[in-house]
């Protein structure tokens, strides 16, 4: 355990922020460029994970366990979100026979 905690000594906090920013932006790009609703959900999961990792890094940086408890709550929330979201996708597929979000443009102005 001591060996592992030696590894991160020296990684600056800025690099964690930079890394999480890149992963979050990849998630945002995925939401913008894909049309398959399931892949859009996966991009949302990527964004949630980037935030989770950053919260953990801050928690270690400030020596406060509250950040890791927050990550735990975010994981519970992500599980609930995926269950409801995939149920909605299944229902959409049953009605329109595709998961293309462009078929769901009735609410578009």
């Amino acid at each position: 355990m001591d060996n592992i905690s030696q590894v991160i000594q020296g990684v600056p906090l800025n690099h964690y922020i930079l890394f999480s920013t890149i992963i979050f932006a990849i998630g945002v790009t995925g939401v913008l460029i894909r049309r398959n609703a399931i892949v859009i959900f996966m991009s949302v999961e990527l964004m949630l994970n980037a935030v989770n990792l950053l919260l953990t890094a801050f928690s270690v940086y400030h020596n406060d366990a509250a950040g890791q408890v927050f990550v735990f709550f975010i994981m519970a929330l992500a599980a609930a979100e995926v269950a409801v979201g995939l149920a909605i996708i299944v229902m959409i597929y049953r009605n329109t026979h595709s998961t293309d979000i462009n078929t769901l443009s009735k609410l578009k102005w």
């Binding site: 355990m1 001591d2 060996n3 592992i4 905690s5 590894v7 991160i8 000594q9 020296g10 990684v11 600056p12 906090l13 800025n14 964690y16 922020i17 890394f19 920013t21 890149i22 932006a25 990849i26 998630g27 790009t29 995925g30 913008l32 460029i33 894909r34 049309r35 398959n36 399931i38 892949v39 996966m42 991009s43 999961e45 990527l46 994970n49 989770n52 990792l53 953990t56 890094a57 928690s59 270690v60 020596n63 366990a65 509250a66 890791q68 408890v69 990550v71 735990f72 709550f73 994981m75 929330l77 992500a78 599980a79 609930a80 269950a83 409801v84 995939l86 149920a87 996708i89 299944v90």
Partner: protein, 167 residues
């Protein structure tokens, strides 16, 4: 074992998350996402957040990804059926993502050079320590999250249930 392990794993995470959003086949996207989550698990282990590493491994790689794969195979979307967006929208989306990165990095530059992340107490992320915090300070949010999971379960069953034809 050196400091470069973090950078190698971070590089792998970025590569696989790019593959998630750029692969045509949704099944491949799910498989790449599993690898991405595995690299995140390694990140948690490097931060000595052992509880989160285990939960990430079980909940994300186990439950959520199985749910994704299950829905993909249920809907039989494994063939390349997705009509891709027009090239203009794709370029616009990529530029928008790049703008987000540039904005956040530029705001990061106004900070001074940060101190390295150093684990001060070694048992910060262990199950024993986190359990004490969770059941003392965060007991009420913990109970509320059980309500959230319950309502999500009811909602998922209600939504995915076949509608009765008489209606």
């Amino acid at each position: 074992m050196s400091i470069s392990l973090f950078y190698i794993i971070a590089f792998l995470s970025i590569i696989f998350s790019l593959l998630v959003i750029f692969s045509k086949n949704p099944i491949h996207s799910v498989l790449y996402l599993i690898v991405t989550f595995f690299t995140f698990t390694i990140h948690y282990i490097l931060l000595n957040a052992q509880f989160l590493a285990i939960v990430n491994f079980i909940v994300y790689m186990g439950a959520i990804m199985v749910l994704f794969l299950f829905v993909l195979m249920l809907l039989n979307l494994n063939e390349d059926s997705e009509k891709s967006k027009s090239i203009l929208i794709k370029v616009a989306g990529i530029i928008a993502g790049m703008c987000l990165v540039i904005t956040l990095v530029a705001s990061l530059k106004t900070l001074d050079a940060s101190e390295p992340v150093i684990l001060k107490t070694a048992n910060l992320g262990l199950v024993k320590n986190l359990g004490k915090v969770l059941f003392k300070e965060f007991l009420f949010p913990f109970e509320v999250s059980s309500l959230l999971l319950f309502s999500a379960m009811v909602g998922a069953v209600l939504l995915a249930k076949k509608e009765i034809k008489s209606a």
